[in-house]
């Protein structure tokens, strides 16, 4: 009776496990599988509305400038759409890298949104309204973002180390504190009465060149994007090839072993959160002084929270994060166009984006199930091999 079970269940599982491959291949195959699952879930929702999921997915790509749309407004083309998508992609990459660095040290930086806000606000106030020329203002915006984001991160790390305050609790509470203090200042000193947001920063300080005329088009050129790939490579180098990265990883994997090896655990926690915060700061300035040019009071951006799922989908690996950020941004940017093209309510488009994020984050669960199935299979295989060799032995 045990045999029946093997023959019915095993082939499907076996094929599945074989496709996902060994541990090394799984770092790529499992996120891909998670994406596949999320697309299937998204397709089911679209089907419920009686629409064709394939057309819907294509319109996601069209909306984000990957595929050409059937028609464009004046001075717009696929290039303007693509640049606009990249403009949104830039803060997402930095934010997901911020989550990854903390994660490698065993810390969960859920305060990326708050750190982004502080960095964005400080850069707005210190540089955005200063009237400095672009060649001074832009580098200053980046530096101010890094410094203030890093300082907030380091503060959270210090709270963790000095008072053993869980960084998740500290981050969430500090998010509120920053959000309300900053909205107080915006509402009191920097409010634009028309938009009900902070006064827009000067064009010289904005990291995105808006409405630049070129090739007969008007496009937004996100200068911040130039920094994303070198930053990802730098983070990769830091984690894998430096003494500091080695220490951060030991602390993340086994705190007791870190202490035993003579590593200063407190310093590692503070440094890791400082680096994470600095990256969040970069995300903040590319969002508030790039994608936008103002700050809405009493709103925390969702980028800092989405970046957690993006980081997990990218296996917390800097290169993986470049790809997962791209995917998620394509979907969130494309959802507008998809909803208007397919006549699906915008809310549903957001539900689909949410579903994709949800499934993306369940890679660890898939990995766990696959490991289980592999174990069972290898036990089975061994048994079969033994049975075969046993039979062969008798014949001989």
């Amino acid at each position: 009776m045990k045999h029946d079970k093997q023959n019915t269940v095993a082939p499907l599982t076996r094929g599945f496990v074989k496709i996902l491959g060994d541990e090394k291949r799984q770092s790529i195959s499992i996120p891909l599988f998670a994406i596949l699952l999320s697309l299937i879930a998204g397709a089911l929702v679209i089907l419920l509305f009686g629409k064709n999921p394939i057309t819907a997915f294509l319109s996601f790509l069209q909306g984000s400038g990957i595929l050409p749309k059937s028609a464009y407004a004046a001075k717009k083309s696929i290039l303007t759409d693509l640049l606009s998508m990249i403009n949104a992609l830039t803060p997402m990459i930095f934010a997901a890298l911020a989550v990854a660095v903390a994660l490698k040290t065993g810390l969960f930086n859920i305060g990326v949104s708050g750190q982004m806000l502080v960095a964005g606000f400080m850069a707005t106030v210190l540089v955005g309204y200063s009237g400095l020329p672009a060649y001074l203002a832009m580098p200053l915006v980046v530096i101010v973002g890094i410094v203030f984001g890093g300082a907030v991160g380091a503060f959270m790390g210090w709270l963790k180390h000095r008072f053993n305050i869980n960084e998740v609790v500290a981050s969430i509470m500090l998010n509120y504190i920053f959000q309300y203090i900053i909205s107080f200042f915006i509402n009191t000193y920097y409010i634009n009465p028309v938009s009900r947001q902070s006064q827009p920063v000067s064009a010289a300080a904005r990291l995105t060149l808006v409405d630049t005329a070129a090739f007969g088009l008007k496009m937004d050129i996100p200068l911040g994007f130039i920094l994303t790939i070198p930053t990802a490579l730098l983070v990769l180098f830091l984690l894998n090839r430096t003494r500091m990265g080695y220490e951060l990883k030991v602390v993340g994997l086994n705190k007791r072993a870190a202490k035993y090896a003579g590593i200063n655990v407190g310093r590692s926690v503070v440094s890791s959160m400082a680096i994470s915060g600095a990256l969040a700061g970069l995300a903040g300035v590319t969002l508030y002084l790039g994608y936008y040019n103002s700050i809405a009071p009493r709103v925390l951006t969702s980028v800092g929270f989405d970046s957690i799922a993006v980081c997990l989908l990218g296996n917390a690996h800097p290169i993986g994060i470049l790809f997962s950020s791209l995917l998620i941004t394509i979907i969130s940017k494309g959802s507008n166009y998809m909803s208007s093209m397919m006549n699906i309510p915008q809310e549903i488009a957001e539900v689909i984006t949410g579903l994709i994020l949800l499934f993306s984050a369940c890679g660890a669960f898939i990995k766990y199930r696959v490991a289980l199935a592999r174990e069972e299979l290898s036990a089975l295989k061994l048994k079969t091999e033994l049975a075969i060799s046993g039979k062969g032995g008798k014949k001989a």
Binding site: R241, V250, L253, A257, Y260, N264, L382
Partner: protein, 510 residues
Amino acid sequence: MDEFIVEMRHITKRFPGIVANDDVSISVKKGEIFALLGENGAGKSTLMSMLFGMYEPDEGEIWIRGKKVKITSPAHATQLNIGMVHQHFKLVANYTITENIILGQEPPKRFLGLLPSVDIKGPNQKIAELSKRYGLEVDPRRKIEDINVSTRQRVEILKMLYREAEILIFDEPTAVLTPQEIEFLLNIIRELRSSGKTIILITHKLEEIKKVADRCAILCRGKLVGVMDVAGTSTKTMANMMVGREVSFALEKKPADFGAEVLNVSGLTVKSQDALPVVKNVSFSIRKGEIFAIAGVSGNGQTEVADAVMGLIPVSAGKLLLDGQDITAMSVRERTLAGISYIPEDRQEVGLVLDFDLAENLALKRYFKEPFCKKGILQDEAFAAHGKKLAEEFDIRSGQGISTVVRSMSGGNQQKAIIAREIELASELMIFVQPTRGLDIGAIENIHREILAQRDAGRAILLISLELDEIIGLADTIGVMYNGEMLNIAPAETLSATQVGEYMMGVKSV
């Protein structure tokens, strides 16, 4: 055939990558003490787990009292009057002994004929009677958290008796006990036999088998090597069969040649996190070429002494001198560089980063120095070369060489990796805490040789062990700790095992 109460026929059990039991057949007579002997990983516990219903065999049959049975769960095993005392006790700390024993089958009663509640009085009395009958000396009203390890074990025995077990399985029962407690336990086991119970004793300690067992089955790498009458077999024969080769019991220990003092500990006091003193005013010193062993029952402050010397826990009073230099205020890193190596008790949680590969782990204490790190940048080639060299020198075996993730290596090889790394530091002082815990005879032999070689090379060695044999066999000087105090320090040759055992129990004047 009905003289056999338990028969396991042609049992085979496979786990991924290993065959834990390969066609093993044993038969146990009613009313005997049957020992299962074998090294760690030989498959003893697996075999008994199947008898207790925790696993099902892949092949083979189990017969109980002449009937073929398929034991599907521990509850089922209990119905068949089979009981097991596990290595790790399964007790609720803040419940009383009685509450623990009746857990899962509480006898109900109704308060004032209405409110349902649990009858405690009846079981209390029954357990007190059982305890008296078998000489277990247990007060059923006490809470588990207030009683010591040896009593907890007796609670597990009572639990089996209360559930009317006839076949009692003991999984390594003596691993956590002092010599005196072991004697006490063995007497209880004999008492159980004389009242007609059948006992299966899993162990790798030969002398216990020699003392109590009637027959003994020897397992080696999952296979049954033989079943023999204990009375007619020498310990040496059993050991050789168990390991599968010749074992030399005697360690070659050269006469001691002590040099200058390396470590001086004076008035060391350590407080736990709840500010209770766990080490009280302990003083001792270790010279070059000396093995100073601290004996004691687990949890009497020995590990804390080692941690305090290494700087892993804060010292609340006292002074530590290494080569005359005051290290009391130094960090772990500074102490490592000043010349302390440390082989920790918990090799997986402290000694290694399990998700790092072998090369990275072998450099855990040196990664920050040249050649491993130049100007903050790690040198992969240096890690690889160093890893290869150590793996070869110390015969560390792993699936994919130095890039094997340490988690996937065997316990013995993990320990070899730690020892290799710590020896390579060439420190003046080497601290070994429970260096052979959970390892098999072959690996233990190697580690003992290595410790002696380090001593002969002129290092000062602090050895902390719960195994009395290990301490007697290796130490030049023995200190015994009880309840945080160092009760006695004396040259090893002036102490007998019994004397050390008595100190371990807190008897101050021998």
